[in-house]
C-alpha cells in the first residue's frame, strides 16, 4: 500500500497543473498516469489557447468579458456564466505564468505572445506556438513537475476508486511495468483523465482517450453532466480522422466542395470558415449529405495552397507533416481531404468552479470534468485554457480541503478490499469461458456511436442506437481474457476498460435521446430548434448498479449578464 496526501490520476495538462499547484503549497502529491506525462493527449493539441491579452495590433480593446461572451454564445447559452467568467478572467494570468515557466509561444515583433483568429471569437485571441501549442504547453508543465520533484508513477492503469463511507480515499492501479494491482491511498483524488473520444470509431483522439476516468467516477456515484454534447471537429483527415488544426482556417484556409465553392458562405456569411465548430461541422456534413463532397464521396477539401509555402512552413508545419505522412498530401501543393470527426467531450464529471465533485475527496479537471464552461459547444482554444485554469483551481481547492480535513487516515481495510475486488474481477475474466470477443464488441460500440449519435441526430435512429448499446452491454458478461500474464498486459487493460466505455457511451446516448431540442453540437433533425423553456438546463446522469443505462436528472444553468439569444455568425 502506497500513500500520498493527494493522488492525481492523469498526467496531461490538467493533472500536471493541479499537481504543481498543490505541490507548491507543500502537499505530498503523486501523479499516476497510463503513459509518461509527456506523452499525454494534451500534447496533440495544435491551434492554441485563448486569453484576452490584446496583443494583436488590431485587438487593443479585447477584454476577458468579451472572451466570456464569445464563449457563452459559442456554447449556445448552456455554459454556466459564473464559471465562464472565472475562466476568462483567470486566463490572462495563467498564460503569463506558462511563459514565465518557459513555454515557447510564437511571438510578435515587439516580443509579445502571438495570437491568431479562431472560430467564434471576436478578436485574434488564440495564443499559439506554431501549430504545436499543446506539445509546448505539455512539455513546459512536465518540466515544472520534474523541477518541483512531484512523484510520478508512470504506466499505471487506474482501474478503480476506493470509497470509504462515501469519501474518496484513493485508487487501485495496475502497474504495467512490474505487474499486479496496488492500493494507493490518499486524502484527496483529482481525476484528470481526458475525454471519451474512443467511444466513437471516428475520433481525432489518442487511443488512450477511452473515458476511463469518467467511468470510474460514475461507478463511484458521482454524476456525469451534459454527456450528450459531443464536439465534432470540422477538419479531421479523411482516412484517419487525425486532427487538422482550426488554426489552418485561422491563418486563412478555405473549405471547398466538389463544385469548387467556398460553401461556408451559405451557412455563416459573416464568419465563413471561422464559424464555431458545431456550425462548421454541420455545414460540411450537409454538403456531403447533399452530394457535394469531393467526387460525391464523404469528404470536402481544406485548401491552404493560397497561403503560400512560407506561411505554411512557419505557422502550420505540424499539420503539413501529418497530412504528408497520414494522407499522402502536401498542403503546399494540394488541398487536404477532411471530414468532421469526433473531437471533444463537452460533458464529464460534474464539478463546481473549484473542481469539487458531489463526492467528498474526489475532484476533477480538464476534459474528463464538466464545470461547465463550454456549454453545448466548445470554442477552439478554450480546452487548453480549461485544463490549466481548472487544473490550477482544483489543486488550490485540494489544499484548502486537506487543511480543513480532520480524519486524515484513509481506511486500510477499504483499500485492500478494493484491490481484492479488482483481482477477483480479473481472475473471473481470465477463467471465463465466454464466447464474446472484446475487440469485436468494442468496434461495434464505437460504430454505433458514430452512426447513431453523430453530427446530425434523429429520435428514431437514436432509439435504435440506445437499444443496440444495451444489447452490446449484455454481451460484456461473456468476454474472457486471451492472456493472463502479469507484465504490460494490454489484453487485460483493454478488456477491463471496455465496460466503462460502454457505460459512458450509454450516458451520451440516453442523454441525447432524452434532450428533445437542438442546441450547440446536439443537433436533431426531429427537434430542429433550441427550446429554452424546457431545456435550458444541464443533464445529470447517475450510474444504476444492475441496470443498463443511467438515471437522468437535471440541474439549472447559472445565467448571468449574457441573455440567451439566437446565434448568428
Amino acid at each position: 500500500m502506497i500513500h500520498h496526501d493527494l493522488i492525481v490520476v492523469g498526467g496531461g495538462l490538467a493533472g500536471l497543473r493541479a499537481a504543481v499547484e498543490a505541490k507548491r503549497s507543500g502537499v505530498d502529491v503523486a501523479i499516476l498516469s497510463q503513459v509518461h506525462p509527456g506523452r499525454s493527449h494534451s500534447g496533440a493539441a495544435q491551434g492554441g489557447i485563448n486569453a484576452a491579452l490584446a496583443n494583436d495590433p488590431g485587438s487593443g480593446d479585447d477584454t476577458w468579458e468579451k472572451h466570456a461572451f464569445d464563449t457563452v454564445k459559442g456554447g449556445d447559452y448552456l455554459g454556466d456564466q459564473d464559471a465562464v467568467m472565472q475562466m476568462t478572467k483567470d486566463a490572462i494570468g495563467v498564460i503569463y505564468e506558462m511563459d514565465h515557466w518557459g513555454c515557447p509561444f510564437s511571438r510578435y515583433d515587439d516580443g509579445r505572445i502571438a495570437q491568431r483568429p479562431f472560430g467564434g471569437a471576436g478578436y485574434p485571441r488564440t495564443c499559439y506556438g506554431a501549430d504545436k501549442t499543446g506539445h509546448y504547453l505539455l512539455h513546459t508543465l512536465v518540466e515544472q513537475a520534474y523541477k518541483l520533484g512531484i512523484k510520478l508513477y508512470v504506466e499505471q492503469y487506474v482501474a478503480k476508486l476506493t470509497v470509504h463511507n462515501g469519501v474518496c480515499q484513493g485508487v487501485v492501479a495496475y502497474d504495467m511495468i512490474r505487474g499486479g494491482f496496488e492500493a494507493f491511498t490518499a486524502n484527496a483524488v483529482v481525476m484528470a483523465t481526458g475525454g471519451a473520444g474512443r467511444t466513437y470509431s471516428n475520433s481525432t483522439n489518442a487511443l488512450i482517450n477511452t473515458g476511463g476516468g469518467m467511468a470510474l467516477a460514475y461507478y463511484a456515484g458521482a454524476p456525469l453532466k451534459d454527456m450528450e454534447f459531443v464536439q465534432f471537429h470540422p477538419t479531421g483527415l479523411y482516412s484517419t480522422n487525425i486532427l487538422m488544426t482550426e488554426g489552418a482556417r485561422g491563418e486563412g484556409g478555405y473549405l471547398i466542395n466538389d463544385l469548387g465553392e467556398r460553401f461556408m458562405e451559405r451557412y455563416a456569411p459573416k464568419s465563413m470558415e471561422l464559424a464555431p465548430r458545431d456550425i462548421t461541422s454541420r455545414s460540411i456534413q450537409t454538403e456531403i449529405n447533399e452530394g457535394r463532397g469531393i467526387g460525391g464521396k464523404g469528404y470536402v477539401f481544406l485548401d491552404l495552397r493560397h497561403l503560400g509555402a512560407e506561411k505554411i512552413i512557419e505557422r502550420l508545419p505540424g499539420i503539413r507533416d501529418l497530412a504528408i505522412h497520414f494522407e499522402g498530401v502536401d498542403p503546399i501543393e494540394a488541398p487536404i481531404p477532411i471530414v468532421p470527426s469526433q473531437h471533444y467531450s463537452m460533458g464529464g464529471i460534474d464539478t463546481d468552479v473549484n473542481g469539487a465533485t458531489a463526492m467528498p475527496g474526489l475532484y476533477a479537471a480538464g476534459e474528463c470534468a464538466c464545470v461547465s464552461v463550454h456549454g453545448a459547444n466548445r470554442l477552439g482554444g478554450n480546452s487548453l485554457l480549461e485544463t490549466i485554469v481548472f487544473g490550477r483551481r482544483a489543486g488550490a481547492e485540494v489544499v484548502r480541503y486537506l487543511g480543513d480535513l480532520k480524519e486524515k487516515r484513509p481506511n486500510a481495510r477499504s483499500a485492500f478490499a478494493a484491490v481484492q475486488a479488482m483481482e477477483a474481477r480479473v481472475d473471473d475474466l481470465g477463467a471465463s469461458t465466454g464466447t464474446e470477443d472484446a475487440y469485436t464488441v468494442r468496434a461495434e460500440m464505437a460504430g454505433v456511436m458514430k452512426e447513431h449519435f453523430g453530427v446530425f441526430r434523429d429520435g428514431i435512429v437514436m432509439k435504435e442506437g440506445v437499444d443496440r448499446l444495451m444489447a452490446i452491454k449484455e454481451r460484456c458478461g461473456m468476454i474472457g481474457l486471451r492472456w493472463t500474464g502479469s507484465v504490460f498486459n494490454l489484453d487485460m487493460i483493454r478488456t477491463v476498460e471496455l465496460e466503462g466505455m460502454i457505460d459512458v457511451a450509454l450516458t451520451i446516448a440516453v442523454g441525447a435521446l432524452a434532450r428533445t431540442e437542438s442546441r450547440g453540437a446536439h443537433s436533431r433533425t426531429d427537434h430542429c430548434s433550441r427550446d429554452d423553456a424546457n431545456w435550458l438546463k444541464h443533464t445529470l446522469a447517475y450510474y444504476q448498479p444492475g441496470v443498463a443505462g443511467p438515471r437522468l436528472d437535471a440541474k439549472p444553468v447559472t445565467l448571468g449578464p449574457f441573455e440567451p439569444q439566437e446565434r448568428k455568425y
Binding site: 509527456g38 500534447g43 491579452l53 518557459g102 516580443g111 509579445r112 501529418l322 504490460f488 498486459n489
Partner: protein, 243 residues
C-alpha cells in the same frame, strides 16, 4: 486478400516459463493505408493477445511507439507498411535498452538523465507582470529542440551511450541546448557542471546516428556542438573579457 507478414521479436524476461527471445511471424491483411501500429493492433486483437507494445496518439506527436522497424528507428504509427518495400515487416524493440517485454523498453535511465540536466527554465530575475519579451529572432532559435518528443530513438542509436552507461545521451543534451538558447533562461551556471564533462557533451564524437534515427528529423548533434562551442567561448570571455 493481399497479406503482409509481420516478424516480431518477442521476449518476456520476467516470465519463468518463457524468458528467452524469439521471433514470431504473423499474417496481417494488407491495405495501402496500413501502418505498422495498426498491424500490431491487428495481431494483439485477433492473433496473439499476449503481444505488448506502447501506443498513445497514433499521430506521431507523443513519442510512445518508437521501435526498430526493418532495421531503422521509426515510430510505428508514422510508418506506412507500403513504404517499407517487400512483404515482410520486421519489428524489434529499440536496441540496447533494457527490455520490459516484447516491444516495450525500459525508459527509466533515459528519463533519469533528462531529469538530471535540470530540464526547466531557470530564472533568477523577478518575472515581469506580463510575458517575458522575446523577439521572433530569439524565438526562432528554439524551433528545432522544442520539437523533441522524447521517444528515445537517438538515445538507443548512440554508440557513445552503448560504450558509457553514464553518458547523458543526445536527447538530454538537446534539452540542455533548448534552454541555453532560450533568451529567457538564466541557468547557464547552474546547469553547466551537469553537462560540461566527460559524461556530457565531450562524450559526443559526432557519429551522428542520432540525426539519422530521429523520427522528427531533429539534429541533436548540432545542439551538442553548439554547447561545446559556447563552453569554449565562456572560458575565453572569462579569461580575456568580452571581445
Amino acid at each position: 486478400m493481399p497479406t503482409m507478414t509481420f516478424r516480431i521479436r518477442r521476449q518476456d524476461p520476467h516470465s519463468k516459463r518463457d524468458p528467452e527471445p524469439r521471433w514470431d511471424e504473423f499474417t496481417v491483411p494488407y491495405e495501402s493505408s496500413l501502418t505498422v501500429l495498426e498491424g500490431l493492433f491487428y495481431i494483439q486483437e485477433k492473433l496473439d493477445g499476449s503481444l505488448s507494445f506502447r501506443y498513445c496518439c497514433r499521430a506521431s506527436v507523443c513519442g510512445s511507439c518508437a521501435m526498430y522497424i526493418n532495421g531503422a528507428y521509426r515510430l510505428a504509427c508514422q510508418t506506412n507498411v507500403k513504404h517499407l518495400g517487400g512483404d515482410v515487416v520486421t519489428v524489434a524493440p529499440m536496441p540496447r535498452l533494457p527490455l520490459v517485454k516484447d516491444l516495450v523498453c525500459d525508459m527509466d535511465d533515459f528519463f533519469a538523465k533528462y531529469e538530471y540536466i535540470k530540464p526547466w527554465l531557470i530564472r533568477n530575475s523577478p518575472d515581469p507582470e506580463q510575458e517575458i519579451r522575446q523577439s521572433p529572432k530569439e524565438r526562432k532559435k528554439l524551433d528545432m529542440p522544442i520539437d523533441c518528443i522524447l521517444c528515445g530513438c537517438c538515445y538507443s542509436s548512440c554508440p557513445s551511450v552503448w560504450g558509457e552507461e553514464n553518458y547523458l545521451g543526445p536527447a538530454a543534451l538537446l534539452k540542455v541546448h533548448r534552454f541555453e538558447v532560450d533568451s529567457r533562461d538564466e541557468g547557464w551556471k547552474e546547469r553547466l557542471p551537469r553537462w560540461k564533462n566527460e559524461r556530457g557533451v565531450y562524450r559526443c564524437h559526432t557519429i551522428m546516428n542520432c540525426v539519422e534515427a530521429c523520427p522528427k528529423e531533429l539534429n541533436p548533434t548540432e545542439g551538442i556542438q553548439w554547447l561545446k562551442l559556447e563552453a569554449v567561448h565562456a572560458v575565453r570571455r572569462r579569461l580575456f573579457g568580452r571581445s
